[in-house]
Amino acid sequence: MTDLLAQKAADPKSTLNASTAAADHSDGMSYLNNLPRRLVTLYLPLGIILVVLLFPFYWMALTSIKPDEQLLDFEKYSPFWTWNPTFKHIAKLLFDTDYPRWLWNTMLVATCATAISIGASVLAAYAIVRLRYKGAQWVGGAIFLAYLVPPSILFIPLSTVVFQYGLFDTPFALILTYPTILIPFSTWLLMGYFKTIPFELEECALIDGASRWQILVKIVLPLAIPGLISAFIFCFTLCWNEFIYALTFISSTQYKTVPVAIVTALVDGDIYRWGSLMAGAMIGSLPLVVLYAFFVEHYVSAMTGAVKE
């Protein structure tokens, strides 16, 4: 605590900087730019980039509701709009295929893997930041390195490991391997959050006789809720996005996750398959987009936090 204060006192520059940056809410010199100029240098490029970024989703959504005869005929019907939307593709997907089952698998795997990872990361991050056992710094560094190990160099040996442990082709193969991607990330993120919680609170609790476990559960966790939400959402998204492990470790159709099932089971020779493929891609993205819409700020802070710390 004292060294924290001393550091603050010794470093007036940083506090000064922070206060000026925070107090300066004006828009700087942007009043110098007039409208025509802003139109060309700002709105036009921004508009182009946005259109390129969003067009695939528009095309995805549009394809999934177009009737078959309009799907491939661009000459007779305008390809960019449809006046008679149909839910045929979506209905086919939901009632004639295992799609609901795949959605359920993905949800189950993502939820379990995220829950396990957050639990393990909270303990690890707290220990590294606050217990500061011998070598905690090195462990923190090792966890950062683990974050940088990509799944695509691990899946071959992991497939033999998964086979040895008897997990092959079960949901547990995914529930237990996804945390290796998630734990390093969320530990790193939570370490950053825990560092911002004042030491003094913990010291008071220690004097009052709280054990470390009580401090963690009753003081640190309630204060770190924004961080926990960020970590949870980001982990959930990563699970949903994961492909290579699910492709390698799961072979029976009933256990597949949405991304793998769409690529392996939905792609058939049908020339009109695009409708149901796009519907599958759209419905598969919707849960994440909805989640994202509710927690944009948390999501952004997770992403930038993980990079900045």
Binding site: G28, L42, L53, P151, S152, S159, I183, F243, T304
Partner: protein
Amino acid sequence: MTDVVLKSRLDKRPIQEPTAWDRLMVNRNWLGLWFMVPAAIFLILFLAYPLGLGVWLSFTDAKIGRSGEFIGLENYEWLSEDSTFITSVFNTILYTTVASAIKFAVGLYLALLLNERLPFKAILRAVVLIPFIVPTVLSAIAFWWIYDPQFSIISWSLRKMGFITENINFLGDVWNARWSVIFANIWRGVPFVAITLLAGLQTVSPSLYEAATIDGATPWQRFRFITYPLLTPIIAVVMTFSVLFTFTDFQLIWVMTRGGPVNATHLMATLSYQRAILAGSLGEGAAISTAMIPFLLGAILVSWFGLQRRKWQQGESND
């Protein structure tokens, strides 16, 4: 009266010597060990052990269902003469350099645009990030459809505008396929770079720009001597991640081309999947993935020095 109260208080709890157990319960090393156990189990069983096993497998002739014998560097010698492998290394490097460079340029530009005074800024920022949160495989399928040889909407639009007469064979021609997958990768990566750099930009105080303008700095000079130096640390980290994830990319390629046409878009990751899982020679596949490690180490070193530099700039102790 008073001494009754005093007495009952004194009786209540005799002070005990702390037992060894009590001492253990407040020992930070002992507690720290137990707090680390769950994470350590996962990371050792499913990360460190497989990582080592992968390097070991690359020195064996293991197949699926048969544990291999040690054969030394034979896999690597074999690979060094394998033209498909060499193409995949070339593709990986091309894919990583071109995609990362463009992602950085466009991402930084987009970040600068979003940092301006804009109406609906929060919504814009949220919308920009959507390509990043939608699962890669699902957006790759959308791109697959957009790149369809017969019914591509891009070909159709260009034909209507009169730029081309024939449909573009996006994924069937060697170089077209390469540029098409690179474009899809850039499309997915730009939001990440832009939003993280935007977070960095927002910490730069506007008064610095005002001071520079009063001193007569041009917009380029303001960018070069204020924005860029202040962003360098975060650029280093963001680009390390970007390079790392581009280099080890698998999903986009697998969904859109499966490495085709004639192995022209194989990256090292997709080739190792094909050799190890589909063809069954685990040893050879493991050698391909192990060959990626030196590149990853390079990226990690860059990141490390980026982080060090940040600490040095802020003049903070390592806490």
